[in-house]
Symmetry: C2
Subunit: 338 residues, 2 copies
DNA sequence: GTGTTCAACTAAAGCGATATAGTCAATAAC
DNA sequence: GTTATTGACTATATCGCTTTAGTTGAACAC
């Protein structure tokens, strides 16, 4: 690869020591304003950029943060949500020329192994933990590895890790209230795997709030998030003697699959069945009828996570808990009066 | 972050010089087999991992390759294809503990700026160029920056860059032949933006092959790949006095959107209209009817790209051209006799 | 028995930045 | 007028690893 100018080259050209150049470029005292200006000018002229590795070696900042997604390659559906998060993070961090190291792995075991690798290779300055689990082995690991970390999706539990979170409980009650107002008395929930915190919270919210509002039925069926299991769960529900009049899906993919099953079984949507998705994406808009869903600015959420992580990296002792806006309900054609 | 063992620690423990340890760990001559074994053992025992930055600084290998996706954030649809590519690349490269630096940017300008940044920061050892354009400004840039690069999707043009490619021309003729065999005489093509090589080739293939087979009509309508424009193009086509009996879509998202439009307009699929998608994904399977599409092992393709890139990094003077298997046609419910 | 060759190391010089301890002149203080 | 106190620098060590140039002792040749 081509030779790039180094700090030494600039120093030579300006006629000062490399140290002075470093001071000037990093905006710290030790050089006169006049010299600083001259150095900055020459640096720009020579098109200088810091050598990441050199900076990392000296100052111990890798200039990258990590985001790992544990997914069975076959379940790899439309990862719209995390694509948006990633985009938001990258936009927020690229200004500081920090890269986001995103990696897909098979399972949590591989994810943990990767964190260990990254830590010992000093590849990242911080981590974002997503898909929070009820009993999450990763929390202990990142604390052991002593890497600044922010979790996404769950209030800072037990003062362990900083987090950016949304209130899944409130989100579910919003949906239930909306459906109840439409006179739905039998609401079902096609959930994700209950090992995930957000799934667990949604299930709990439905159970509690359903009981509180005196619904006739409010059941959650766990799945693995795949379209196949989403479809199967829907089939199960609609085959019951007293099928639900509304189904809430934990993901857009399962909701779309469920809609297909309903139509196939001759259950008109929204006339006989209302469908609500917990996620928004193109998918909810291209199916017919378009799906009522919870929507939020995922892009902004990614940026928020990035900001939060930066703070934690700057001050690792800090414990931040950012509550994000509760997703708002976007009503489309898939819901109607029971 | 916690203190990790260095080569010097290992050297001290084994009782040799750091240089010897480096030789042993990198499998190069200069140490006896006996000492090598001892060093490797101690290294494993101490759980040593190379410090990426140090290695990059000394040996000038960043241990990462880059993949940039230029997308309007709003057009960010189901990036299933590239998610799979990324997965394949990561699996192939993680064994050599090389990371894939994936980044989403707004447009080609930002993409080029990012390449410049990466080059001057020495962040990546190589690049994968995707979404080849007809007149591609990036090619000149990566050559100027002198970064080992592999392009995906187009035969190594003019001996400039190595590439892994699939034959889009043949893919289109496969589809046309299939549809012609079902007596379709009016085939339309909802294409992507014609600035992309693969779109241009598909359009050309349809035009030429359609003429050769004596079809009554074979037209391509360009779009921006969004579901909205895919839907609009479909509406245009179906509103014509003599609408096509088959539509080929350049993406699964547009195909799904097109299907929705057809059903909405009262055009039964596949009775009055056959639909074929150029991409496969969950999307083609959850809609009803499921879409006939071209399918390929994208995951393996990603691995192939990674292997190819490794070769180019090892020997930058080499010019490789790997032709991948032509996607095969998966027939589902969206196509039938005209 | 002297010289040559080779394997198996060690010593030390980078790589490009950062950070800390000095140096030196100019100014301020008493 | 001598001593502090700055400001503006320079010199140098350092980060962890790679790499090149020695160094040493043993094997071998003649």
């Amino acid at each position: 690869m081509a030779n790039r100018p180094t700090i030494a080259d600039i120093a030579k050209r300006v006629g000062v020591s490399p140290g002075a150049v470093s001071f000037a470029l990093n905006g710290r005292p030790g050089v006169s304003e006049q010299t600083r200006a001259r150095i900055l000018e020459v640096a720009r002229e020579m098109n200088w950029r810091p050598h990441r590795a050199a900076r990392a070696l000296g100052g111990s900042q890798a200039g990258a943060v990590g985001l790992v997604l544990a997914r069975d390659p076959r379940t790899l559906g439309s990862e719209h949500f995390y694509t948006q998060i990633l985009y938001g993070m990258q936009e927020a961090l690229s200004a500081r020329s920090i890269a986001v190291q995103m990696q897909l792995v098979r399972d949590t075991g591989a994810e943990i192994a990767l964190y260990r690798d990254w830590a010992s290779e000093h590849r990242v300055d911080g981590l974002v933990l997503v898909d929070q689990q009820v009993s999450d082995p990763r929390i202990e690991i990142v604390r052991e590895l002593d890497i600044p970390t922010v979790t996404l999706g769950l209030p800072a539990t037990a003062g362990l890790l900083s987090s950016v979170w949304a209130d899944d409980h409130e989100a579910m009650t919003t949906i239930v209230d909306y459906l109840a107002a439409l006179d739905h008395r039998r609401i079902a929930h096609v959930a994700g795997p209950p090992i995930y915190q957000h799934t667990a919270r949604r299930m709990q919210a439905l159970r509690e709030h359903g009981a509180a509002r005196g619904l006739d039925a409010s059941e959650s069926l766990p799945t693995d998030f795949s379209d196949a299991q989403g479809a199967a769960a829907t089939r199960t529900l609609l085959s019951r003697p007293r099928p639900p009049t509304a189904i809430v899906y934990d993901s857009d993919l399962m909701a779309a699959a469920g809609l297909g099953v309903a139509l196939e079984m001759g259950v008109p949507v929204p006339r006989s069945l209302s469908i609500v998705s917990f996620d928004d994406s193109v998918l909810t808009r291209i199916v017919h009828p378009a799906l009522t869903c919870l929507s939020r600015n995922t892009y902004a959420l990614g940026a928020q996570v990035a900001e939060c992580l930066l703070e934690v990296i700057t001050d690792p002792s800090s414990l931040i808990s950012v509550r994000t806006e509760t997703p708002r309900l976007v009503v489309r054609g898939s819901t109607a009066r029971a």
